[in-house]
């Protein structure tokens, strides 16, 4: 039971019984619905790193969209720092699954977009963006247009844009999907540093179970659509882990079983 709650700290994000459905493709109003989420409850404590794992189409991106205020939930509540998020936008830094770069803006112009909307001084925004772009290996591409970038580069620009938004809560929807293994490892390391040094709170989505086990404090495993929480697992211990640690290997196997739908003893 203790696994269902964050480490005794104050909850940063609280999702309570959230449900969401969409009209099925081509359906008339009031017609058949696609149920994306059916009563998901979860929480992320302050400075915690929480990962959502679940089969494709189970509603992970939908949950992120609700947390970011793009949609309102059909039922249930989302609270950030105790305040209701019900279509409230601009409270979290959200990196969507697609990179969504503006084709008419250069890399630099895309990276500063969030700061621009927040009204940050242009020169300050540009300086911050240049630093982070350099850190992410995009130095020399500041003036390039997105069409000239590889998929992995585009994804990193989107990550820079998200990280620059001055928000404590980060919601990252498969941020490393398009990266090669080396760059991915470097980005993971950066993310961990961001959390330990800058005390950001992270809600993270991935399809890579090993990545989840290596990075997270806690992992929520969701069911097939409509998404519900199937199980919660706490990672072995805080701090750096290796893929070969016996605890990591064991947890990975357990989570893979959960994802396959094998009934788990602890649930």
């Amino acid at each position: 039971m203790s696994q269902n709650h964050a480490r005794g700290e104050r909850a940063k994000l609280e999702v309570c019984g959230v449900a969401k459905r969409f009209p099925a493709a081509g359906a008339a109003a009031g017609g058949p619905w696609v149920e994306a989420l059916a009563g998901v409850s979860m929480s992320v404590a302050e400075h915690e790193f929480v990962t959502l794992l679940g089969p494709s189409g189970c509603g992970k991106s939908t949950l992120c969209n609700i947390v970011a205020g793009l949609f309102r939930p059909d039922a249930g509540t989302v609270r950030l720092d105790g305040a209701l998020i019900d279509g409230t936008r601009g409270r979290v830094a959200y990196m969507q699954q697609k990179d969504l770069l503006l084709p008419w803006r250069t890399v630099l112009g895309n990276a500063t977009l969030g700061l621009e909307v927040q009204g940050v001084d242009r020169a300050v925004a540009r300086a911050e963006a240049r630093d982070l772009l350099r850190e992410f290996g995009l130095e020399g591409f500041e003036a390039a247009y997105p069409a000239a970038l590889s998929g992995g580069m585009r994804q990193r620009v989107a990550l820079v844009r998200t990280l620059l938004c001055r928000r404590e809560m980060l919601v990252l929807d498969e941020p490393f999907g398009a990266l090669d293994a080396m760059t991915r490892a470097a980005m993971q390391e950066y993310l961990l540093r961001l959390r330990s040094e800058f005390h950001r709170t992270v809600l993270f989505i991935t399809h890579d179970v090993e990545e989840a086990v290596l990075l997270s404090d806690r992992i929520y495993v969701l069911t097939d659509r409509p998404g519900r929480v199937r199980a919660v697992r706490r990672a072995p211990e805080p701090g750096p882990r290796r893929a070969t640690d016996p605890e990591v290997v064991r947890l990975k196997a357990e989570i893979l079983d959960l994802l396959r739908g094998v009934p788990a003893g602890a649930d």
Binding site: L102, V117, A185, Y190
Partner: protein, 283 residues
């Protein structure tokens, strides 16, 4: 995990992609490509003109029916002062008419996409107005706006108004909804979404409308001049025609074609400058 920084790793894996910048010889290759494109039509035109010259001489066609190109060229040079003066008048009508249509058309398109009421009231009328043959109302325009420039400006404006409105409306609606949502998630309001997403996304559409419109507006101004004017290339043509100075008619046509081509080229150049992200080589 390794001790390498993301920066170091990305450098090793991505250094190759950076070699894509400017290379020497690129300009030369571009000139070559341009020549390969321009040579065939230029050659065809030369052949046609030579054939025309030969046929007129061989069959003894009288110059008041069809003058040879050499005679047209002679008129182009001899009457250049008058023709240039008239061309300036026509060009001014075209540019003014185009500017009026552009300003009013874009403003109307913005109103149509930002208000459902305006859209329901105005858009059907804009589309229905296309069934009115604009040429047919040219005489009315002369009555209302007089023999001077104003009636031709109105004519040119009316003719290009429709493609500008329709293309701008389409363009403003073509914005990727995901990008609009991205801005919403960042906390942006309608105004910022319009400026940051909808207008940039609309620009390619606006430019393709403008490219068609600018050549058509030349037609509008000339028709206005035919119906009633005291100056302009259209006025020139009507007079020369009445006096069977067919060479002079052709000379005016040459000026009009060059003007339409130059306007088309100017719009293309503007588009190239305004939409760097659509250029060849950046995609």
């Amino acid at each position: 995990m390794s001790a390498l920084s993301p920066r170091q790793i990305a450098k090793t894996t991505l250094g190759a992609a950076r070699a894509r910048g400017a290379r020497p010889g690129r300009l030369l290759r571009r000139a070559g490509a341009w020549w390969r494109q321009a040579a065939p039509p230029a050659g065809l035109i030369a052949v046609l003109i030579a054939g025309w010259e030969w046929a007129v001489r061989a069959f003894g066609v009288p110059p008041y029916i069809l003058p040879p190109p050499s005679q047209i060229a002679a008129v182009l040079i001899a009457d250049r002062a008058i023709l240039l003066g008239d061309a300036t008048v026509t060009l001014a009508e075209v540019l003014l008419g185009f500017a009026v249509a552009f300003v009013v058309g874009v403003a109307l398109a913005l109103a149509i996409v930002s208000s459902r009421t305006v859209e329901r009231a105005v858009y059907p009328l804009v589309i229905a107005s296309q069934t009115v043959p604009v040429f047919a109302i040219a005489p009315l325009l002369i009555v209302w706006f007089g023999y001077g420039m104003a009636s031709k400006v109105a004519m040119a404006a009316l003719i290009v108004f429709f493609p500008i409105v329709v293309n701008t409306v389409d363009g403003l609606r073509a914005a990727d909804e995901d990008l609009v949502n991205l801005l919403r998630i960042l906390g942006a309001g309608r105004r910022r979404i319009l400026l940051t997403i909808r207008i940039p996304a609309a620009l390619p559409f606006v430019f393709s409308g403008v490219r068609i419109a600018v050549a058509t507006s030349v037609i509008g101004a000339v028709i206005g001049e035919w119906v009633g004017a005291t100056r302009g290339l259209g006025f020139d043509m009507i007079h020369a025609n009445a006096q069977l100075h067919i060479d002079r008619v052709f000379a005016a046509i040459v000026y009009l074609s060059v003007m339409a081509l130059a306007l088309f080229g100017a719009v293309s150049a503007l588009e190239w400058a305004a939409l760097p992200w659509r250029r060849e080589g950046t995609r």
